[in-house]
């Protein structure tokens, strides 16, 4: 196995990994261009390489892209990729108060550790985890999505009603298009584009990026000021110290990320949401979450990077891609004549292990490359005049939206959603619940319809929804996450009363 490790370390492969990570981070960091797009665009380039090198490039791009999403999430309040939505919760408030560099360094450390946890789980326990993932049926996905929705509500503390309304708007948007079951067209107004539904990335770009751009235009202040009183540079020492305080958090979030990533129909956005909510619940400073708590960034970034390794678990052991970029990478392997399937590990072990170690190397490379790029990105971002930043971001959002499906109508949908999102943000609605509603609505509806159909066919509808162990466990967590804030306030009141006595 050590030989495979050395294979991944050949100068050529190392150089490819460096290139992949850099390209991935750059594309992921640009608002409007996602990790999936980075992988898709660069895939044909790898067709001329030997299979294991091609895989290393693609995996490095993917890993870098997921991590790169945190740059714009922290600096511009715009997730560069859907899985960094949760990073905006605390990353942007930190940047706002002048701790942008610290937030970036912290996110880098958390991403590297989270990424490594995912890859190590892939290396060590892939087959049993893949089998466990298969136990997740439609009804479990339904409950998982419901859990996600309750988290959205409980995360919008102080603004519960607006959070719920936002999530409902997101659910409504997720209904647009042809129905999962029966293919009926809903809210498409005769448009062929809308019959395919509102693409999640289109909603993400519109609801996050455009309001930011409009806000930048409508205010005279500079977009971000260098706070002379704050320490400059990487602030790596501080970041390490903060991370040491979040030891349990980073490992728990990495674990959650890898496990959720291994589920073929869930992704980075839901895994980081669950990790974030767990981190907040167990934190002593939970009231700081959402206002720039370092623990929030750690949870979100550790989880979404762990999803990368986790997602490859079903891809490599079962031939079932765990995330959209996995599907593209799997196809690239087929072009190379490598047959994906249960025997991949035994028949093509040298490719698989070189790949896994390459992924590990890429993860570790993220540390120096990320810190360096982060430093320059932060400086450049502060230095760039607003008159260049705004048109630049706007151009990227339009290019990025067009690039998803080569469809100009989606650009208009994105812009329309952007204006709606801006108006809503003025009224105090944050975009995260809306976008998460769009993401989770699709998973929830599919799971519900499938579970209902299977339950009816086997005349066991209640057993389908309430009789399966994993479902019951998720339902338990849902009740806990809904009840906990109530319980906590009751306890606090009780405590205060006692103090008064």
């Amino acid at each position: 196995m050590f030989a495979y490790f050395l294979d991944a370390l050949t100068p050529f492969n190392l150089m490819l990994a460096m290139f992949g990570v850099t390209a991935g981070i750059t594309i992921g960091a640009l608002p409007g261009l996602t990790a999936t797009m980075a992988v898709a665009v660069l895939t044909p380039m790898t067709f001329t390489m030997p299979p294991s090198s091609a895989l290393i490039v693609l995996a490095s791009i993917y890993m870098g892209g997921i991590y790169g999403g945190c740059f714009s999430a922290i600096l511009v309040n715009t997730p560069g990729t859907p899985s960094s939505i949760t990073t905006t919760f605390d990353g942007y408030p930190m940047a706002k108060r002048g701790d942008g560099a610290l937030a970036l360094s912290l996110a880098t450390l958390a991403s590297v550790i989270g990424g490594a946890i995912g890859v190590l789980l892939l290396l060590l326990v892939a087959p049993p985890l893949a089998r466990a993932a298969l136990a997740f049926g439609p009804v479990e996905y339904f409950w998982l999505a419901v859990l996600g929705l309750t988290l959205v509500a409980s995360l919008s503390e102080g603004n519960l009603l607006k959070g719920i309304m936002g999530a409902c708007l997101g659910l409504l948007i997720s209904f647009v298009g042809s129905a999962v079951m029966g293919g009926d067209l809903r809210f498409t107004f005769g448009s062929p584009t809308l019959s395919g539904g509102v693409n999640i990335v289109v909603a993400l770009i519109g609801l996050f990026c455009i309001p930011v751009v409009l806000d930048l235009i409508s205010t005279a202040e500079p977009h971000m000021e260098m706070d002379k009183e704050r320490p400059q540079g990487f602030r790596l020492r501080e970041a390490v110290k903060l991370l040491l305080n979040e030891k349990i958090n980073v490992f728990r979030s990495g674990g959650i990320g890898a496990l959720v990533g291994a589920l073929p129909a869930a992704g980075g956005s839901i895994s980081s949401l669950i990790a974030y909510s767990e981190a907040r619940r167990s934190s002593k400073k939970s009231h700081e979450y959402g206002k720039g708590a370092p623990g929030g960034i750690v949870a979100a970034e550790a989880a979404n990077n762990a999803t990368v390794g986790g997602g490859f678990i079903p891809t490599l052991t079962l031939g079932i891609p765990g995330t959209p970029p996995d599907a593209i990478i799997m196809g690239a392997l087929l072009v190379h004549g490598v047959q994906i399937g249960p025997s991949l590990f035994t028949e093509n072990s040298e490719i698989v292990y070189t790949f896994i170690f390459g992924l590990l190397v890429a993860t570790i490379l993220m540390l120096p490359i990320g810190l360096l790029l982060g430093r320059y990105a932060f400086r450049a971002f502060i230095a760039i005049p607003k008159s260049l930043l705004v048109p630049g971001v706007l151009l990227l959002t339009i290019l990025g939206t067009y690039g998803i499906n080569n469809n100009v109508i989606e650009v208009f949908i994105m812009l329309a959603l952007g204006v709606v999102g801006w108006a809503l943000s003025r009224a105090g609605f944050s975009p995260a619940p809306i976008v998460l509603g769009v993401v989770l609505g699709q998973i929830a509806e599919q799971g519900f319809v499938q579970a209902w159909l299977i339950g009816s066919a086997t005349s066991n509808l209640s057993g389908m929804f309430f009789g399966r162990p994993i479902s019951l466990a998720i339902i338990g967590i849902i009740i806990l996450s809904l009840g906990y804030p109530l319980l906590a306030t009751q306890l606090k009141k009780f405590g205060r009363l006692k103090a008064h006595d």
Binding site: A40, P138, G183, G196, P314, G331, T458
Partner: protein, 317 residues
């Protein structure tokens, strides 16, 4: 007036000359091969395998371009706006080409797409996990008749190829099963492997990928698949279901006839290459040959089958 006519004549003549020249040397540069799906998909994999044979025959290669979106409709709706000089070709899938326009306005009609060659088929297959208690097609049919509707079968999408296969099968075998739509082959395969459903309607290629994890109950072919000599065809069981997903290439409608002919014979040649045949068969594909001259008849035949299937699905009256 006169000079204008002469000019017209001359330009017409030059054009004709140019056209003749183009055909003689066609292709004299790389051809743009548009894939209306993501890179790495089955259409892309096939196209890349074809490039070798194309190079051998012509000395030119393909430049691959991807135009994914709306299950291929985004690319196909742009095909006729491309230059018709023979240097733009696009892959397509059946039954998508028939079903998409039936389901609403997708930016093209079936007749708009000028097919020059249909080169392969991924046959439908009825698949169960290896540990399933359903041992054979007889088992499946008798279970489906015992408790109508209780057998659940996963497939990709509504009004899609697997959905059609399920409807035709139920119709022909007089069974009632419950179709559970999933988005994407991976979700559908995962549901079958995890026994969330009893079986899966998919393609022979899934059987090849999943190896010993699954058991094929039947394949929708005229004869048994060479990789699965023990798996019966539905026909053997008296169920008239011979179908799957077809792939081929199309060109902008106004591309010169000679070039269409030439492309057709080039793809025929690629399909004959023994090494190409071997790789495709190993992956579970079935090679077929529908040259340009036979396309109208082929489209007519499968088209009427799909119309019948669409009637079963309630898509058309």
């Amino acid at each position: 007036m006169k000079s204008h006519k002469i000019k017209k004549l001359i330009s017409g003549f030059t054009l004709a000359l140019l056209a003749a020249g183009a055909q003689a040397d066609y292709p004299e540069r790389n051809i743009n091969y548009y894939i209306p799906f993501n890179p790495g998909g089955e259409s892309d994999v096939t196209a890349r395998m074809q490039e070798e044979g194309f190079k051998e025959a012509t000395g030119q290669g393909f430049t691959f371009q991807y135009k994914p979106g709306a299950g291929g409709a985004t690319g196909l709706s742009q095909l006729n706006q491309m230059a018709d000089d023979g240097y733009n070709i696009m892959g397509f899938n059946l039954p998508h080409l028939f079903l998409q326009p039936m389901s609403g306005d997708v930016g093209y009609e079936t007749d708009d797409i000028e097919v020059v060659y249909v080169f392969q088929l991924t046959p439908h297959a009825l698949i169960v996990p290896a540990s399933s208690s359903i041992e054979s097609l007889e088992d499946f049919v008798s279970r489906a008749k015992e408790t109508p509707g209780a057998l659940t079968v996963a497939g990709v999408g509504s009004n899609s190829a697997p959905h059609i296969a399920k409807e035709i099968f139920d119709d022909a075998a007089s069974t009632t099963t419950t179709y559970i739509p999933f988005t994407g082959t991976s979700a559908s395969t995962a549901a079958m492997l995890g026994k969330q459903v009893d079986a899966q309607w998919s393609f022979v290629t899934v059987g090849v990928e999943q190896e010993d994890n699954v058991r094929l109950l039947g394949v929708a072919m005229e004869e048994r698949h060479p990789l699965f000599p023990d798996v019966p065809t539905f026909k053997e069981m008296g169920i008239d279901l011979v179908d799957g997903a077809y792939r081929g290439v199309a060109v902008p409608k106004t591309t010169p006839e000679e070039i269409k002919q030439e492309l057709s014979s080039l793809f025929a040649e690629i399909n004959k290459s023994p090494s190409f045949r071997q790789t495709m068969v190993d992956k579970g594909y079935v090679l077929i040959d529908v040259p340009y001259s036979e396309v109208p008849e082929f489209m007519e035949r499968v088209g009427s089958d799909y119309k019948e299937a669409a009637r079963l699905l309630g898509l058309v009256e």
